[in-house]
């Protein structure tokens, strides 16, 4: 997506030469630390690196390939939510759900992944780097010595996903009270507002004037927060 400005028109090439070349160059410098990659032609590049070489890989990407701009750091919990989209009727037994964990682009072997977005500030070429975190004790090395801006992002990710960042010595909560239990952005953390009261969308299904699809009523309802 972050293309050179010369690449202006919207025609999507079948083979993305710029990204293929960049991927080859990255393969050369990272060696076997790079596990998997994914290219969407004309759009974006994803790579996945080994957990034990997370910090050194990002360091190489910054120093060798000049990805010097820190976009953001966050995590994804790939487990499907056991609560679905919070639209179950609490008086009924919970429906059966497919709980197989499937990873996204560039694959993954664990339930949770940490990912960052870094950009080259002169060519404006950006990429997403993913890393697996172990299921039992989720932790990765901290990037704070490479990008000082990772500080708050790692604190936020620690708080929301319960992932430890080795080398970050100030993982205080940013948002939640000190004694808060649980990690809200994990999929198995229930959204209580949806648990205590059934989502009005499932009751308010009434046909719109002139429309015969009852789902529309649920789609168009404009709620506030929660």
């Amino acid at each position: 997506m972050k293309q050179l400005s010369s690449n202006s028109e919207t025609t999507t090439p079948a083979v993305d030469v710029v990204r293929e070349q960049m991927l080859e160059a990255i393969k050369g410098s990272l060696g076997d630390a790079l596990i998997d990659s994914h290219i969407k032609p004309g759009d974006d590049l994803w790579i996945r690196v080994r957990t034990d070489s997370w910090r050194t890989s990002v360091q190489k990407l910054r120093d060798v390939h000049s990805f010097d701009y820190f976009g953001f750091l966050s995590a994804i919990d790939w487990m499907p939510s056991p609560y679905g989209r919070g639209e179950d009727d609490p008086t009924e037994p919970a429906p059966e759900r497919d709980m197989t964990i499937r990873s996204g682009y560039a694959g993954g072997d664990t339930r949770m992944q940490v990912f960052i977005r870094i950009v080259n500030s002169t060519t404006h070429f950006g990429l997403t780097v993913k890393v697996d975190v172990a299921d039992s004790s989720p932790s990765v090395e901290s990037l704070i010595t490479i990008f000082a801006g990772a500080n708050w992002h790692e604190r936020e990710t620690h708080e929301m996903f319960g992932i430890d960042f080795v080398g970050h010595n100030d993982l205080r909560n940013m948002y939640l009270p000190v004694d808060f239990e649980g990690h809200p952005l994990r999929k198995d953390f229930p959204l209580l507002a949806r648990m205590v009261k059934p989502w009005p969308g499932i009751v308010d299904v009434e046909p719109l004037p002139g429309g015969d699809e009852p789902e529309l009523a649920a789609q168009d309802s404009k709620g506030g927060d929660a």
Partner: protein, 390 residues
């Protein structure tokens, strides 16, 4: 023990010793100062905890979370069209601009593109929300330095822009106007002429602010050389928008990436400043407001006729995939990393908001400054609390 030759360690010890001497002579004692959560300089409820030695800050840290609304979690239980209601409330002064990157990410995953007319109107409304947002900043800047007049001018002239946004979208602050595949509605009759007149007024407003504020000696001495952010620090903290360009980085996402928007159809300039101080950041924003009025003026003349909505199914299911789209919002780079599982709603949305990165630099930046400069520096970094806490 200190290794001989470890210069950093030695200079640290020297500075500690200097501090100790200073304390002895002046008999100062450390003091903790709380600024906020309710403080006019904090645009919401940000609390700054500053440890002072006399008038000087030795350590400062913002405490966030007074307004955390959990939007990333909430998106997981909403459908794609419903998410725009949430993201409107992230940066509440430039709401329309928040909707655009999310809608573009969803459109990218679905492989649809809005009709050209819709893209023009989107770009115009995007720039109008930038003008509404930044003009308030320019007025508010004066208040925080003790000048009362600019804020009245700002509120007066911002009202014209808000009226335009209201007459086109129906909402002054939360338009919720962008749809996957286009826009909710076409422009009302007479809107284009009205907008042209307002853009003239806004350029006039920029001139007034430049005369009143930027030429003011007090303003200059309060902001020049204060809160300097060098280029490499700005990059590694992920600063964006005017804060990055004020540190000499020539990078504007409107110009430097290809999106189905119409910025490249207008002739405008990306301003940078080499100084990286508070003055540079404010000055860049002033110039950007001018450029925005130019963009709007030029695009108004070339809106093609046609539909404003592409053909999309009534019930929107977004195919499986991941997409990252970010745009140059009034506060800086605002982006959404959207993961879809082919469902009615997103699987995960990471909201990358500009103010979160922009404010994360404050512990570094506020060290060593004087108490009155805290307010100037925070004002010049320009953040909206909803954009930090999400």
């Amino acid at each position: 023990m200190t290794m001989l030759g470890d210069r950093q360690q030695l200079s640290y010890i020297a500075s500690q010793a200097a501090d100790a001497r200073l304390n002895l002579e002046l008999e100062t004692e450390g003091m903790t100062l709380n600024i906020g959560p309710q403080h006019p300089a904090t645009h919401g409820t940000l609390r700054i905890i500053a440890r002072l030695d006399g008038e000087q800050v030795v350590w400062a840290e913002p405490a966030c979370g007074y307004m955390h609304r959990g939007y990333e979690k909430l998106t997981e239980v909403r459908t794609f069209p419903q998410v725009t209601t949430l993201v409107n409330r992230i940066d509440w002064l430039g709401s329309f601009a928040n909707e655009v990157p999310f809608i573009l990410a969803a459109e990218k995953l679905m492989g649809v593109e809005a009709p050209t007319r819709a893209q023009y109107i989107r770009t115009i409304l995007f720039e109008l929300s930038r003008i509404a947002n930044v003009s308030l900043f320019l007025g508010d800047l004066g208040v925080q330095l003790g000048a009362i007049t600019p804020v009245f001018l700002a509120f007066r002239d911002r009202e014209y822009v808000l009226n335009l946004i209201e007459s086109a979208t129906g909402g002054r602050f939360h338009p919720n106007f962008d749809r996957i595949g286009g826009l909710k509605d076409d422009l009302p009759a007479g809107w284009i002429d009205e907008t042209r007149a307002v853009m003239k007024k806004l350029r006039n407003f920029c001139d007034q602010i430049e005369d009143l504020l930027f030429g003011n000696e007090i303003f200059q001495s309060r902001t020049r050389g204060i809160g300097v952010i060098p280029r490499d620090v700005a990059l590694q903290y992920g600063l964006s928008g005017a804060n990055l360009r004020a540190s000499g980085v020539d990078w504007d996402l409107r110009r430097d990436q290809t999106l189905p928007m119409m910025w490249n159809k207008a002739d405008w300039k990306v301003w940078t400043h080499p100084d990286g101080d508070s003055f540079a950041r404010c000055w860049i924003r002033l110039q950007e407001t001018r450029e925005s009025t130019k963009i709007v003026d030029q695009l108004l003349g070339s809106i093609p006729s046609g539909p404003v909505m592409a053909k999309v199914p009534k019930i929107i299911k977004v195919p499986e995939g991941e997409a990252w789209v970010s745009t140059e919002n009034p506060l800086g780079e605002m982006g959404y990393y959207v993961v879809s599982r082919g469902d009615l709603g997103p699987f995960r949305v990471k909201i990358r908001s500009a103010s979160f990165n922009n404010i994360s630099i404050t512990p570094w930046l506020l060290r060593g400054v004087y108490v009155p400069d805290i307010v100037t520096i925070l004002a010049s970094l320009y953040f909206i609390l909803g954009d930090i806490d999400r």
